[in-house]
Symmetry: D2
Subunit: 301 residues, 4 copies
């Protein structure tokens, strides 16, 4: 099908289950909340080589947070539940507790299927000087530190969410693909319960499982040469159309498949509005690996 | 001594050796370089619970970089050399190679005492499609990806640097200490070869080795209750002066002791310019643990 | 009354009618829209010496704009209708038409009592190459420029709104007042139909009508010495309490009194959450000049 | 000639004399200085319809400013000296004096040929409560306000500088031209004594003197249809090459011709590094109007 003159390939994105946490970080000012949220979600692109997949989901104004201060909701994701708990303890303990004026709240709410005692465990840093308190119906711990009292909700909700939602933007030039990817990310930033964990939300490198070159047989994954514009005239079976010179991928994680679908839809729509975009496609493994199949064309029916 | 009316305690910051890498990330635009540098240095406050200590050191304009594009120098640090190499491979491989239009250069230059083959190892991602090339006297690898060709210098220099340079800002209110800490960080950002790895450069929580509460004997480190303003009237031997209600610490890592000293000096000077700052002090272990002792008062002689 | 332990003076903010326009600027990306919106609303603090009062009201995601691209709503205000039209032609013609990929839409909607033919007049820049087109029910002009086609709605709605809504934050130190003012602005940024036209939304200088010093009789307005913390011990009738050392004012313009009241309320609430804030008050002329009286305490009943 | 494979037209940019002021704004933190500098230089693209041409030139770290605080140098320009003084009084009086913690210093230094008594005049706002003081060799006024004391140097230096330095970037797509323009601005931001007064430094609309359409004879300037990519197939004598679909202009003002030349040079170099850029040219009036002729090719000899 075509949207805004751009060809949408009749294919699907194949996505995987992942444990997702959704956490609200508040602070005295928006800027302070963003600094903590950014640090806590850094080095969090893909669990292939990062210790977690993480990102900022959205800003929450002071009028809508439990403590009446501005905040950011972040998501931290990991395939293994125990590793996710470890990541939460480390990222919240080192990048949020240490940041000026912050507090931490569960933001998974009723979506949660389980809870991790992250606040309960971090409170031991208080050495007995911490106190337990109620904020509305929330059980909080208040830990004295140099910058005042750090407050954190006792339990943080998690659930099985979705990782690896994706689509590819192919355009006449690298810059057209790049601006389209930026526009896609801007649009996706408005979709609740999703994050785009790569730098600025955009992925510049595509990989394939394994290798082609027998000398590189020690590599578990290598560049997908068929998707490299600079190789389109020199490799066999290149998937780069003749009029395409730039490709970027958007990867989406989220709390549930519906959210990832919505993000995929608004992201594609935004990308197609940029002049020079030629084709949108998606990555999959033939449906063999991931239980979630997000069919691009169905999103627009 | 007093500076701008602020009491500078006659004490010293005790700092430790750490392996430091110094890497330049360039991109098509300043914004793209910053996005990659921010992701690559996230979750990097302290090796106590983060996988590395990392931060952005400075911006380098296009006129001063090897490829004539804007860039940011980052530092990534770890006590163990092998762990540092691992961190470089992961952080550059996942957070920079994947980011649009980036290239990576050694920025340690002649300060290096050793080199890690980071580019050489990451090039295997190219599956044989990568090429080796020279840029001036630099050996580079060019790896085809969707967004063009990712370029990285073959070897990255490292050396034994300094971690844990520090000073504490004590002020009449939490906000005075906070604004003073922000001013200190702004000043330190102008000092080459140093980073301030905590969120926004500022540390809100101070810790002590071990515990006081016997029920918490499983904790290796806990809050330093003597430095907590909200406990100043309830704990014994509080180190919080009567007129102090806010404390923040600045932690500095750097390529060498001279750089960390300079950062400490300009940071303290900047902090003392903020109304309400009462006292500057520093953290140490009596000189027993860290070989670097940065005496605050000597900095101003 | 007291809120979060802060004394709220039983007084009122006196505000004035002003002609208000409310305009949506969209662009290919959020960043490009923000650049145009920022330039178009600069040099717009107070009509005492600026050519208009102007500010960014809020971000609108791509999913909620007429052209499916991200945008910012700005407000531009002037006491005289003809001057407001002049300002719109100049600011939109010079700071938005010239900016990459922008489009301009009316955002006053049904609140408008009159319309200015701003798009109709700016289209003459097209020298006959412009075209008239419909976007849903909107009449747009499309003007060819180097960066593509600049699109602007034919008519922009205006109405009599409210200028000069205000409150003052008094705190133990300059920094406490400053952080509280930042927190207030963060909260007000979430209130629709209002702007805070001063730099960063915060006013550091208070003025009185006329002069005290007879040598300065040529001045129409001078500093309000009674509200200067550094003069509190040297001027007569200082209004600075003994425990106050920092004062900032928030000034609010808006589409109607309800919006300005709501902004005043959430701003005060946010400010009172910052440690060290002692008192909130407001500025008025005894009710003689401005027809709008926003009573602080009534906001919280 | 060709640079990085991009055709540089053998033409020149024609520039004009303009009165230039160069002013340093410092504040407690970098962020506060930037807020004031941004507000003071807004609505300042072109004196055709803006009250001045203005922009931020560069950041100055705390270690290099007269008061040891971080700051930004701005330039404000106007063809008429009296109008420039008026603009300085209004922009510094309304957008900087009102902003938290700011101070203002002359940054023209020995380049100045004349001085305007801007600080001397603004001090009257102090109503006699202001004081005169020395900071090193500078004569300063200190005016008590709510946020402390606003400090401003008595006299600000001005000189005849250069306005309207320019070059045009033509590329295969709108996005390639846009990213190249962003790269050019990033590079120019590193050149001292120059500003790029348009939004984000980039000009999306080109104009010609007068009109073509006789019905529009009341217009002094209209779109330059020959430079509009969307008209390239429909207007006579289009100057858009067949392979070009996006054009942006960079306009540069500066303290002297040397600075504007240097900015032009580094900007062009940066633009040519972006894939898809086809041609660089410049705008002139045949040399009849502006005394400054910046020949593009000579810059690279």
């Amino acid at each position: 099908m075509e949207i805004n003159g751009v060809f949408i390939e009749d294919t699907f994105a194949e996505a995987f289950p992942i444990w997702v946490s959704r956490v609200l970080i508040t602070a005295a000012t928006e800027k302070l909340a963003k600094i903590a949220a950014t640090e806590a979600t850094g080095f969090g692109c893909s669990v292939i080589m990062c210790p977690a997949e993480a990102g900022i989901e959205k800003y929450v104004p002071a009028t809508e947070t439990p403590d009446g201060r501005p905040g950011y909701i972040i998501e931290i994701c990991h395939p293994k539940k125990s590793a996710l708990e470890h990541q939460l303890l480390e990222r919240l303990g080192q990048c949020v507790l240490t940041a000026p004026t912050t507090a931490v709240f569960d933001a998974m709410g009723e979506d949660a299927t389980e809870h991790l005692k992250v606040g309960f465990k971090l409170k031991f840093f208080g050495d007995g000087y911490e106190t337990k308190e109620k904020l509305n119906d929330k059980v909080m711990y208040s830990v004295p530190i140099m910058g005042g009292d750090f407050k954190i909700e006792s339990k943080l909700g998690i659930k099985k969410g979705v990782a690896g939602g994706n689509f590819f933007i192919m355009a006449d030039s690298n810059s057209s693909a790049l601006v389209a990817a930026e526009a896609a990310i801007d649009a996706i930033n408005g979709v609740e319960k999703t994050i785009t964990p790569f730098p600025g939300g955009i992925v510049a490198s595509g990989s394939k499982v394994g290798y082609t070159n027998p000398k590189y047989s020690f590599m578990a994954a290598t560049t997908n040469q068929k998707m490299c514009p600079t190789l389109k005239d020199s490799v066999e079976d290149s998937e780069i159309p003749a009029d395409v010179n730039g490709v970027y991928e958007i990867v989406i994680d989220g709390v549930d498949e519906e959210a990832v679908k919505e993000a995929t839809k608004v992201g594609i729509l935004a990308a197609t509005k940029i002049e020079g975009v030629k084709k949108i496609t998606a990555g999959n493994y033939g449906g063999k690996l991931g239980p979630h199949q997000i069919k691009l064309c169905e999103l627009f029916e």
